[in-house]
């Protein structure tokens, strides 16, 4: 629910791209949202050549973990013994964790000027506007709570499934 409230709030504060001025002047709703960067003057990461260049690294940063997760699920499904599958996927999980950190900071290492800066940063020099920051924080908190709920729910399910299979095996042995 918290996540949905954040999403709705974010949608409610979406600036109308067709009404945004193309001149150098800042729209009051866009104050502080990297309005001085050419990449974002025409909305949603569009550049003067009409490509989503500014969004590329962000999409890439989401797409890489998605591919890792697909690989994780494929590896888990490919191994028949669950314990062996757990061992192998744990190694992949560790590699993925390191890769996630590298992918996060790769933008800073090889910054060529096209990449969008961090939307949330602790320094006060460059921050996203409040109309976007508050829905974003609500979404982050809501998604975190949803993640914790799902982890607990699925852990309980897994414990019950393991208990059931152990009881069935016990009965077969007897």
């Amino acid at each position: 629910m918290v996540y949905d409230v954040g999403r709705l709030a974010g949608l409610g504060h979406s600036p109308p791209p067709c009404q945004r001025p193309r001149s150098q002047g800042r729209s009051p709703r866009w104050d502080g949202v990297y309005a001085d960067r050419p990449v974002h003057r025409r909305g949603l990461g569009a550049t003067h050549v009409g490509h989503m260049v500014g969004m590329g690294p962000k999409i890439d940063r989401i797409f890489d973990p998605f591919l890792f997760y697909l690989g994780y699920m494929a590896l888990w499904a490919a191994v028949e013994n669950p314990d062996t599958a757990a061992d192998l996927t744990a190694v992949l999980c560790l590699v993925g964790t390191v890769f996630a950190v590298i992918s996060r900071y790769a933008i800073l290492f090889w910054n060529q000027g096209l990449h969008q800066g961090a939307s949330l940063s602790m320094d006060a020099e460059e921050n996203v506007a409040d109309v976007f920051a508050y829905p974003l924080w609500i979404c982050i908190i809501g998604f975190g709570l949803l993640f914790i709920c799902l982890v607990l729910l699925r852990t309980r399910t897994e414990i019950r499934a393991r208990r059931l299979s152990a009881l069935i095996a016990q009965e077969r042995m007897a």
Partner: protein, 63 residues
Amino acid sequence: MTAFIFPDLGPYAVEVLSAYAGTLALLLILVAGSVWQGRKTRIRLEEFEARRTAKRQKSTENL
């Protein structure tokens, strides 16, 4: 209380709204799937344990 005014999304309406709809659908599938799987496992375990307990009671009575 101010009414929720639907924003003018301009030429990006299809992309933005389809992204919202897709995310919502995926979240619903994820939550519903987890709840359904959890409920199914719980019922199977309860049925198995009830059957096992009944079986044990029956064998104790026979002794």
